[in-house]
């Protein structure tokens, strides 16, 4: 196996709010292989955005290490750190907030070019900015380059954010819900553009989304990691995850996706969760954090120990579920019995 370009080793991250400590990420292990399509999927509050920020170095992990090209990022200094810094970029969710409203597109994009001495003169900078804008499909460039963000549409702005992330010639781009706030009609074209960039520019994408359908489209040839309350519960090749998921949480997520065909949606197997409420991060249940909602809950097993991410059977999947990894299979838990 190739050396991963980015790697999480036992990364945890918690935030302090007043006196309470909120554990947002717990013991995450994750490898990002060069040029792979990797998707982080989960509900809001599952820690996927925090993972993205740790990947980009915008947040430091509370514990654990982040490796970039095999080297611990926290030990990188000087030129090495700058190299990492420039190599991993982020595209934010909200195209309305990610561009500084006081700068023109040219200004926003030329700052990093000058800062990293990628260009020397204004002419070079303009040419480079124009080139990048063409890459992201903002043509004709002269209609855009001297505009302010508020004069562009949401989709155009998102393309500018992507172009700006490309200014430092990154190897990895973390796309954090990058199309969720763009009009549905433009989503696919932006996704296609990102996928094309992988081929032409050799950029690895880590795609963060709450939308399994998008993840499926984007990472069909790659992997999906499903996150729940600060942990990865299942990770594996996209076709397996989306067609034959094993982990109860992934199963329930998939069953909740409405299909374009209403008949299909209606006939789809509905998984009834035992509870609709997502536990608070400050009051995480003991054992598997999904157990209060899990339809296949095994009393005395799931609520005792925290399951670790382990290879599952013969498949390429790795998942964190105590009954499954003990080879017990899933049996629907009868809530009535309990009551």
């Amino acid at each position: 196996m190739e050396e991963p370009i980015l790697e999480f080793k036992k990364i945890s991250r918690s935030f302090k709010k007043g006196r309470t400590v909120i554990p947002v990420l717990q013991d995450i292990d994750l490898q990002v292989q060069p040029l792979e399509y990797l998707c982080l999927v989960g509900e809001s509050g599952c820690g996927k955005t925090t993972s993205g920020k740790i990947l980009t170095g915008l947040l430091r992990p509370s514990s654990g290490q982040l490796f970039f090209e095999g080297r611990d990022v926290s030990t990188l200094k000087g030129a090495d750190y700058t190299h990492y810094r420039r190599s991993v970029q982020i595209i934010h969710q909200d195209p309305y907030a990610s561009l500084n409203p006081t700068h023109t597109i040219y200004n926003s994009m030329s700052f990093p070019l000058f800062r990293h001495k990628l260009v020397k003169t204004r002419e070079q900078a303009r040419a480079r900015v124009a080139e990048l804008l063409e890459v992201v499909g903002l043509t004709p460039v002269r209609d855009v380059i001297d505009k302010y963000p508020h004069q562009l549409s949401g989709g155009q702005r998102q393309r500018v954010s992507i172009a700006r992330a490309l200014t430092t010639q990154p190897k990895v781009i973390v796309a954090d819900e990058s199309v969720s706030m763009v009009d549905v009609s433009i989503r696919i074209s932006i996704l296609n553009m990102l996928m094309a960039m992988r081929e032409t520019l050799g950029v690895t994408f880590v795609f963060i989304t709450h939308d399994l359908a998008l993840a499926k489209y984007f990472a069909w040839k790659g992997r999906i990691a499903v996150m729940y309350l600060g942990r990865i519960v299942e990770i594996g090749p996209t076709p397996e995850i989306t067609l034959s998921p094993e982990h109860p949480y992934t199963k329930s997520l998939l069953s909740a996706i409405p299909e374009p065909d209403p008949d299909k949606t209606r006939t789809k197997e509905q998984i009834r969760l035992r509870s609709e409420d997502i536990p608070r991060l400050t009051e995480l249940p003991a054992g598997c954090s999904f157990h209060p909602r899990c339809p296949w809950f095994v009393p005395g097993l799931c609520d005792k120990s925290v399951p670790s991410l382990e290879p599952f059977a013969a498949s390429e999947l790795r998942l964190a579920c105590t009954p499954l990894s003990q080879g017990k299979g899933l049996n629907l838990f009868e809530t009535r019995n309990l009551a």
């Binding site: 709010k17 007043g18 006196r19 400050t282 009051e283 995480l284 249940p285 003991a286 209060p292 609520d303």
Partner: protein
């Protein structure tokens, strides 16, 4: 469902921790701390300033009353309330001890008069005059601010906003001067000379019609001046607050429910929009005590501000110190009041520490 035992951090001062979490108690403690800081600041201000006032006063006594240095120093010590043989620290604690007993010292210029008595003589006039002005200004500001917000972006709004901006921009004493020059001296609507002081000195203070009329008459011009100087602020504050309230969902829903405009304005918009203004009002109450030195001087209105100025020109340092302390404490406690009021009105503030 089993809850993971929350990581209970063992706090050595869990008792203090508990007090700190109580919003009211915390606010009160912070205010007391601020008052202490102010007392300390003023204590050292008067003693450490270039040209130490005590030394100046001692020299003054030596020259004017032919006292020896020793005698003069002892006299100064008794008026400034410190034991000359005591160290800095002892003096400081002595001073605080006196303050705790409500003793602000004796006036330097009028020997034998207690500063606190003097303050109590002038304070009511300022509270009456500025307080009434504040109330009037607040009510007018709410009214016009709401009108402006309701007709926002129309000519009425523009007119009110511009007038409010102009009223607020020009210093209050400049309005006072204009009133005196234009209405008093030129148009002769009133005789400025007769309206000096807090009431007609030929009248006996008491609950007589003539006396009360005279009091109101004398306070009228300062009140008008204060109102002109402050109403602009209230109008703009109320306009801003109302405009943002009008955009709230619950107002739109009330409209959708077909409630009458009048009811929406009074019950929905007016009430919610004026809440932040009451907090501002509470803060401003503190500044009532200090009055305005300039306006009171201009109209020769004998309130606390004018008394402070008098004590400054007379270099009556103990009085000066006492009044400054008094008005600052008033501000601290009105701030505290505002904080508490706000926490009552908006529960999010009170329990923010717990979430």
């Amino acid at each position: 469902m089993q809850a993971l035992p929350a990581k209970s951090q063992t706090q050595p001062f869990s008792f203090l921790e508990k007090i700190w979490r109580n919003y009211t108690l915390r606010t009160v403690i912070q205010s007391i701390f601020t008052v202490w800081a102010v007392i300390t600041f003023i204590f050292f201000l008067v003693r450490l300033m270039p040209g130490n006032p005590i030394e100046i006063y001692v020299n003054y006594l030596i020259n004017s009353e032919n006292l020896t240095y020793e005698q003069a120093y002892n006299r100064a010590a008794s008026q400034f309330q410190f034991d000359p043989s005591a160290s800095w620290l002892e003096q400081y604690f002595g001073y605080i001890g006196q303050l705790l007993r409500g003793n602000l010292g004796e006036s330097i210029t009028s020997t034998g008069t207690k500063v606190i008595d003097q303050i109590m003589r002038f304070l009511p006039w300022t509270v009456f005059c500025v307080g009434l002005a504040l109330l009037l200004s607040f009510v007018l500001g709410m009214l016009f601010g709401m009108i402006a917000a309701y007709y926002r972006n129309s000519w009425i709004d523009n007119l009110i906003s511009i007038i409010a901006a102009i009223l607020g921009a020009v210093p209050d004493y400049i309005w006072g001067l204009m009133i005196i020059i234009i209405c008093g001296v030129q148009l002769k609507w009133f005789n400025v000379g007769d309206l000096r002081g807090t009431f007609d000195p030929s009248l006996q203070p008491g609950f007589t019609f003539a006396f009360i009329f005279s009091v109101i008459q004398h306070a009228l011009l300062p009140i008008l001046t204060y109102v002109m100087g402050t109403v602009g602020f209230w109008i703009l504050a109320m306009r801003g607050s109302t405009t943002s309230t009008l955009g709230e969902d619950y107002v739109n829903i009330a409209r959708a429910r077909g409630l009458s405009q009048g009811r929406i304005i009074t019950a929905y918009v007016g009430r919610n929009a004026s809440l932040p203004l009451f907090t501002l009002l509470a803060i401003n109450i503190g500044f009532v005590i200090g009055g305005s030195i300039i306006v009171e001087e201009l109209f020769v209105y004998k309130g606390l501000g004018s008394f402070l100025f008098w004590s400054i020109t007379q270099r009556d340092y103990t009085t000066m110190q006492g009044i400054l302390l008094m008005i600052t404490i008033a501000v601290v406690f009105s701030n505290m009041l505002a904080d508490l009021l706000y926490s009552r009105l908006d529960p999010r503030v009170r329990i923010s520490g717990d979430s």
